[in-house]
């Protein structure tokens, strides 16, 4: 699934475009807990979240996440967009809830990380 398809499936809006829309997204994840993002984030992933503070972007940058989807039409503050510009992330928002945004993408074939245990040490 590429970014263009992802935006279509979520009826989303691109807030900041830092990648080609043809970029393939390997998998997705969702969290409001930043430590969860750090625990399961993988390179190139899309993250669904309800938080819009700049730390979401920083955390995603550290975890290697490429695209952030803000659910329930939340719009991030200008500071958040500023950090994302610098970090090279693409930002999208969607009117769907976290559950439904994830469900739609999963149904369309975008996989997750499978089971990630707290003590998981494999990368």
């Amino acid at each position: 699934m590429n970014i263009r398809e992802l935006v279509e499936i979520l009826s989303g809006r691109i807030l900041l475009e830092n990648h080609s829309l043809d970029l393939e997204i390997p998998r997705g994840g969702a969290a409001d807990l930043m430590s969860d993002v750090l625990a399961f984030g993988t390179e190139g992933m899309v993250l669904m979240t309800g938080l819009t503070n700049p730390q979401v972007v920083r955390t995603s940058e550290m975890a290697g996440i490429s695209v952030i989807v803000f659910v329930r039409d939340k719009t991030p503050a200008p500071e958040t967009i500023e950090v994302a510009k610098e970090a090279g992330l693409t930002l999208i928002n969607t009117g769907y809830t976290m559950y439904e945004a994830c469900g739609r993408l999963f149904q369309a074939g975008l996989p997750g990380r499978g089971q990630v245990k707290i003590t998981d040490n494999s990368w």
Binding site: S20, A31, D32, L33, M34, S35, D36, L38, A39, G41, E43, T49, L51, N53, P54, Q55, V56, R58, T59, E61, M62, A63, G64, E79, E86, A87, I118, T119, D120, N121, W123
Partner: protein, 316 residues
Amino acid sequence: MPEHQITKVQELVYTTRVESVMAPDVVVLDPSMTMAEVKDVMQKKRISGAPVVEGDRILGIVSMTDVIAAMERGELDSLVTKSMTRDVKTVRKDASVIEVVNQVGRRGYSRLPVVDNDGRLVGIVTAGTMIRGLLHQMDASYHKKEAEKIQTYRASHIFDDIVSDDTSLVLRYIVDDKDFDNAGKASSNIKRSLQRLGMPPPIVRRVAVAVYEAEINLVIHTDVGGEITVDIRKERLRLSAVDHGPGIEDLHQVLQPGFSTAPQWIRDMGFGAGMGLANIKRCSDMMRLLSEPGGGTRLDIIFLVGDNAPGAKQQA
């Protein structure tokens, strides 16, 4: 022309927006002008066409051809509104340049007024401004890539170029406490530096996650901030987060996943789930936490690189 250059031009035509190839200072004509006045403006400003504008609205467009035609008819004293083309084709500033290529190249338009989302005139694009704009973009992206390549090359060869019995590179970062706007900045810079040094991506990821957790801890839990140092050698990387804050009462307790002393406002931001140290431990090859109440805290994290890395043999 080699094939990859064609693709670069094609890519630019699609990815560049009209606003970066247009001329932003548009010479506009007033509907009350005569064709003689229009002719003078074009001569003086050395342009071959201009839109006729009233307030924010584009009424029409006049080209040198229209002026010559009016001259031949002996109508230079007539109003510009009589000779202008009324059906003006415009292009939006956020459209991609391919749209201009289609209109100018295929349909034969010489110039297209550029408008914003509200239809206001913001510039004008011609074959000339378009080509200049694209050449500039090609040049800029080439220089950026080359500069990045050279910097990465220089940095990644530092351990080969510097001759000593034991070379290490030490990076130091100051972290302020409760400064959430800048929290993560040190980690972001460390990640970028390691990439530039040519560290393997899996290591960079592990270090990034660990140092970010450590940096957030400094921001949340110390009253005074702290310092992060990264000591890089060819075969291992040692990360230290040191602060002179309140210290930790029970070292066993803080290592338990889920244990946290973070206040509610920190939790509202998505932090303070008590997974920080567990995450660091999971990412690193060795972790040591030293602290006593009132005596500050020191966290050392070690990552093995290259042949020493635990994953290296499995992958090979």
